[in-house]
């Protein structure tokens, strides 16, 4: 199997912030890698360095045998880039934009076929300015594919979509994977990574904290058990609850979840803690951990995650210019 991308000890800082902090991974030819993580994890920075959009501070990067820093037109002729936020001349129609940008590539995918692939056949001759947010994202995708790329970068291809539009985009991307393209995509949706990718690299705070197939990731905590319950009050003091546990606890509102390799002992501790304080643990469940639990425990403390989820929503609504329901 040939390697399409090699990354070793990649670093990039913005001022004091170490956005990418020693990242290493490989992508094989024909493989679909999802870089999964919350906002601010360093996903986009990593991908933009691979695309040649951003310079790195340190480390080794080889993309299709080229250092993307010195790639030039010949390098960009072989890759397809779908940036997270890149405009297009909105007064042009999708077809006109594809003709215009396609002309610079040495080989082009047939435009009608491409328009059909991204399901914009009815809208191909409408000005892009009149398209919905989801449709424009598919124009982005088509523009990324026009040059028949060996390697495709998709930076959060479905962020801000409604569920139906996401499904449709997933189908389009799945089609690409079945054509044998190598794809690197970033996402903060676990289900997206699981649905589309052969391999998932989980990124948090500039580092890759796990790397494997969705199954391998699941296996890595297969033995873990999740103990979950609701506190009676949001401000219930947690003194004495979490410290003695073997497992890792996290809270979401009143809900507390404990991921543990030692469920018997931890459950005993939790119940005795509650009995001592005379509180009832509503909705108490004990079950085996799923992939989402793995992901949440990997990307770190739950408070952080809550913050990012909130900021994700606000960012999305502003970043994609009033994304409308796709239709």
């Amino acid at each position: 199997m040939t390697t399409a991308i090699t990354v070793r000890e990649l670093t990039k800082s913005y001022g004091d912030l170490r956005a990418v902090d020693g990242v290493s991974f490989d992508v094989a030819e024909g493989e679909v890698l999802a870089i999964l993580g919350p906002n601010g994890a360093g996903k986009t920075t990593t991908v933009e360095i691979l695309e040649g959009h951003r310079s790195r501070d340190g480390g080794e990067v080889s993309v299709l045998g080229t250092d993307p820093d010195h790639g030039g037109p010949r390098f960009r002729n072989r890759i397809g880039v779908v940036l997270q936020a890149a405009g297009v001349d909105r007064e042009l129609s999708t077809r006109e934009a594809l003709e215009l940008y396609g002309a610079a590539y040495s080989s082009q995918r047939p435009i009608d076929e491409l328009i059909e692939l991204v399901e914009l056949t009815d809208k191909a001759d409408d000005r892009i300015v009149s398209l919905s947010g989801g449709q424009r994202r598919r124009v982005d995708l088509a523009l990324g594919l026009i040059g028949n790329p060996e390697l495709i970068f998709l930076d959060e291809p479905t962020t801000g979509f409604d569920p139906r539009a996401r499904r449709r985009s997933w189908d389009v991307i799945s089609n690409l994977t079945s054509l044998g393209s190598t794809i690197v995509l970033t996402t903060h949706y676990l289900d997206e990574a699981e649905y589309l990718a052969d391999r998932v690299a989980v990124m948090a705070k500039g580092r890759i904290v796990a790397d494997g197939t969705p199954n391998e990731l699941r296996m890595s905590v297969e033995s873990d058990t999740k103990i979950a319950f609701d506190l009676p009050r949001l401000d219930e003091p947690l003194v004495g609850l979490l410290e003695p546990l073997t497992g890792q606890g996290r809270g979401r509102g009143r809900r507390v979840e404990i991921l543990t390799p030692a469920p018997t002992a931890d459950l005993a501790h939790v119940t005795s803690w509650a009995m001592l304080r005379g509180i009832e643990l509503e909705g108490l469940t004990v079950e085996s951990a799923d992939l989402e639990d793995v992901y949440l425990s990997l990307v770190g403390e739950h408070e952080d995650l809550e913050d990012t989820e909130v900021s994700t929503d606000t960012e999305v609504s502003t970043a994609t210019e009033g994304v409308r329901a796709d239709g």
Partner: protein, 275 residues
């Protein structure tokens, strides 16, 4: 780079000029300022000030004879300087320039398309104003001075196109670009014989201000080539030299400061997010 990728460079430049022309016509506001407004101003000014003549040091000329070259030059400045400053900063903020850098298209070809289209519109504006002046108001043009008209047009359009790019390079966001461009070009027009003629009666410092900036040199160079009193070939080399000097400075500014990436937080609706 020796290896050819897609279409040839010349073909790509032409393709991009044509695409930008298409975009230009689809956004009525640009066409209004660059083409319609100068023509309308010529009609209005002649209607307001009548067809009476005024006296220059050489003799009597009609108002239309004064306004036609002045407004033709103003059309050039709008189509190049103002339009480029605004359009390029919008295209930067929207991430279009950024997208271009992710494709094998050499970025200068995209830039050449935008500039080429602006120059094309400048020529259209000039032709519209001069044609109206000649046909409707009997303004003088002579075949022997056409080369001087053309040279003044090319040299002036180049200077103002260069400074349009330079201004886009100097403005951080597209929101600021129209205000800055107009704040530069309108006061300059008032001291540059575009709207009012002043030679003898204006205060010296105003003449000095006018002579410092390129617009007055452009207006006078072009006007000289249309003046009934000038001798063919009617070139004004010193004034053209000032325009060339401004072009060189503008090119340096553009070269050093032009950015392809949107400024961080430039446009909350379409800007880039860093992840």
């Amino acid at each position: 780079m020796a290896e050819r990728l897609g279409a040839s460079r010349a073909a790509l430049v032409v393709r991009h000029i044509r695409a930008q022309n298409r975009i230009f016509w689809r956004v009525p506001i640009g066409a209004f300022f660059a083409l319609f407004l100068p023509v309308m101003m010529l009609v209005l000014f002649v209607a307001l000030f009548g067809s009476d003549t005024y006296t220059t040091e050489y003799g009597e000329v009609s108002r239309a004879q004064f306004y036609t070259p002045a407004l033709a030059v103003f059309a050039v400045a709008s189509a190049t300087f103002t339009n480029l400053a605004i359009n390029l900063s919008i295209r930067r903020d929207e991430g279009i320039l950024r997208r271009v850098r992710g494709t094998p298209l050499p970025p200068w070809i995209y830039l050449a398309g935008v500039i080429g289209s602006a120059v094309y519109m400048a020529v259209l504006g000039t032709v519209a104003v001069v044609t109206l002046g000649v046909v409707a108001y009997g303004v003088n043009i002579e075949a022997a001075k056409l080369p001087a008209m053309l040279v003044a047009l090319v040299v002036g359009a180049t200077a103002f196109a260069t400074w349009g790019v330079a201004l886009a390079a100097l403005t951080r966001t597209a929101a600021a670009a129209p205000a800055v461009a107009n704040a530069v070009i309108l006061p300059m027009a008032f001291v540059s014989n575009v709207f009012v003629s002043f030679e003898g009666e204006a205060p010296a410092w105003l003449l000095l201000v006018g002579d410092t900036f390129p617009l007055r040199h452009f207006v006078i160079s072009f006007g000289e080539a249309m003046s009934p009193f000038s001798q063919a070939p009617a070139f004004l080399p010193e004034r053209l030299a000032v325009l060339v000097a401004w072009t060189v400075v503008g090119a340096l500014v553009a070269w050093r400061r032009f950015r392809w990436e949107p400024a961080v937080g430039a446009s909350p609706t379409r800007g880039r997010r860093r992840n």
